[in-house]
């Protein structure tokens, strides 16, 4: 028989269940708070910025006249900077992640690398800006160029890529590796034919998340002295004549979307605030698309592999 009568038990249960209800209500409100803020933010942007969005807005250079100003140089700059970032951060980050998960034996050196990566992830982005200022701009004399900016953001997202790679690799059960080794595969065969292919989705998700973060980064680029007023485009990478490609654009001065927006926000004139809102809207849409892509990849590829 139970330790108490059914009536006593029912009273007890009723009393305890009241807390369930109270907390449900609190939780619902908290959640709504977050969601409402998001909606308000987007709405505020849209109300102010939507009227400014037009074809011209994308194809015009910034201007002293708010109504004529556009974001051409900003989005081109962003695109080029991101290219540099991806091309440098991904190979380095993935290789580092693979080393740490698959090769590293336990010793002080790998411990050091390990702790170091964790801490890098927590370093404020502006500190990377200072690093870039000291190292790229002055030490390596890259100047305030697309290359310097791209590398800065690459360093910034490197920990993200490394961590994502490691997580993705770690989710592959050891038995899969042992299965490959047991069939006579070498270490590199195991890594290149199994570990990397199976963790592609995870790595890709991490890379996209990193990029969506990089695309909105403002502070480190301000630190290296990105210009806020650029009325020209960098040299194009692809040429009509030999050697067809050119790397001059790498050293070109640039601006990017968030800086352009910051610039407009900082102006006292209200009309520029509308420009800022419009640029913000474009930025939000860009990051939304990238986040959606990451979610899609995670969902779509994870579905196919269940360990």
């Amino acid at each position: 028989m139970p330790g108490m009568s059914v009536e006593v038990m029912r009273g007890l249960i009723a009393r305890r269940k009241r807390w369930d209800i109270i907390f449900s209500i609190i939780g619902l409100f908290a959640m709504l708070g977050g969601v409402v803020t998001l909606v308000a933010l987007i709405a505020a942007m849209a109300i102010d910025g939507l009227p400014r969005i037009s074809w011209d807005f994308f194809t015009s250079f910034p201007s002293r006249h708010a109504a004529k100003a556009g974001i051409l140089s900003a989005w081109v700059g962003t695109t080029l900077v991101m290219m540099v970032t991806v091309l440098s951060a991904v190979p380095l980050g993935v290789a580092a992640g693979v080393y740490l998960e698959e090769y590293a034996t336990k010793n002080w050196m790998t411990d050091l690398i390990e702790i170091n990566v964790t801490n890098l992830a927590g370093v404020p982005s502006i500190v990377y800006g200072l690093l870039a200022l000291g190292l790229f701009v002055y030490q390596l004399d890259l100047g305030q160029s697309i290359l310097a900016a791209g590398l800065t953001l690459a360093i910034l997202i490197l920990p993200v890529v490394i961590v994502a790679t490691r997580e993705a690799i770690r989710s592959i059960p050891g038995t899969i590796r042992e299965g490959a080794f047991a069939l006579g595969a070498t270490k590199w065969q195991t890594v290149s034919q199994h570990v990397l292919p199976y963790s592609t989705a995870g790595i890709l998700t991490g890379v996209i998340i990193g990029l969506s973060r990089a695309i909105g980064e403002t502070a480190p680029l301000i630190t290296i002295g990105a210009l806020t007023y650029i009325a020209f485009l960098p040299d194009t990478p692809f040429k009509g004549e030999f050697p067809y490609v050119s790397f001059d654009w790498l050293t070109s001065a640039f601006t990017v979307m968030p800086i352009q927006m910051f610039n407009w926000v900082s102006r006292p004139q209200e009309e520029f605030h509308y420009n800022a809102a419009a640029a913000g809207l474009v930025l939000i849409v860009m990051t939304l698309i990238m986040n959606a892509l990451a979610i899609y990849i995670r969902y779509h590829f994870r579905k196919r592999i269940k360990w």
């Binding site: 803020t37 190292l135 695309i215 939000i284």
Partner: protein, 305 residues
Amino acid sequence: MTEHLKSSRFAHRRMRHVRERIIESLLFLAAFSSVAITVAIVVILVRESLGFFEHVSIIDFLTDTQWTPLFDDAHYGIMPLVAGTLVTAGVALAVAIPLGTIIAIYLSEFAPHRVREVVKPVLELLDGIPTVVYGYFALLFVTPLLQYFFPELPGFNMLSAGLVMGVMIIPYVSSISEDAMRAVPMHIREGSYAMGATRFQTALRVVTPAAFSGIAAAYILGISRAIGETMIVAVAAGMQPNLTWNPMEPAATITAYIVQVSLGDLPHGSLGYQTIFVAGLTLLLMTLVFNIAGHWLRRRFREVY
């Protein structure tokens, strides 16, 4: 059956071996680059800071209550910047930690599956939005709103920057906490329900303690994010170093100061130029303290299911 292997076995083996070694070395270099980055950060910050401390005593730096390096009457007391940083971060955390935790518990233990699947990504979008956009929002939407309630509130103030930053950090706290709670295996939860516990009891007495290390990590991450956040404060809190603990006032944070200086055109090697590295070093040390604390917490309370 291994004839064909036997003949060329030796040559094969050496080639295989050499290739494997080369690949391993390359991968090691990649991993080591992260250490190089850290070293570079430290070297650069420390080198410029040393230059700074040749001119300014550490005592002054820590005790002076004014930070006016660019004025003629230059004062180099970091306190106003630290105070600004702590106040904005404090406001942000006062919003993010309670709300984030409640949302995490609600989503992981109370919300129907559908709600969770929708709300969680939506909240994560909060984190994906560029910070400069938040700055805009704080300055041009939240501050006017607050001024409606507190008419005397200045146009630049730490309260509105902190509040918006808090909202931005919510998903950090809630998402990671919720992940940690969901990582608590269902069978532990079922164990509690099977004992006759209610949802609230299960959430509070079993799931939350079990996920403690993850939740703590989420808090720490939120804190370092709040301290290092730049653009919101730069846009909305003003750029005036101001030693005050009152969030209703404008004040510069460390990060805002760095931005402010960078926007101008300071010659390389000047004392003004060095101040931003000193500020950076201070910021780095502050976040490092929290990161180490987080590391320790996670290690101390790691759960094995």
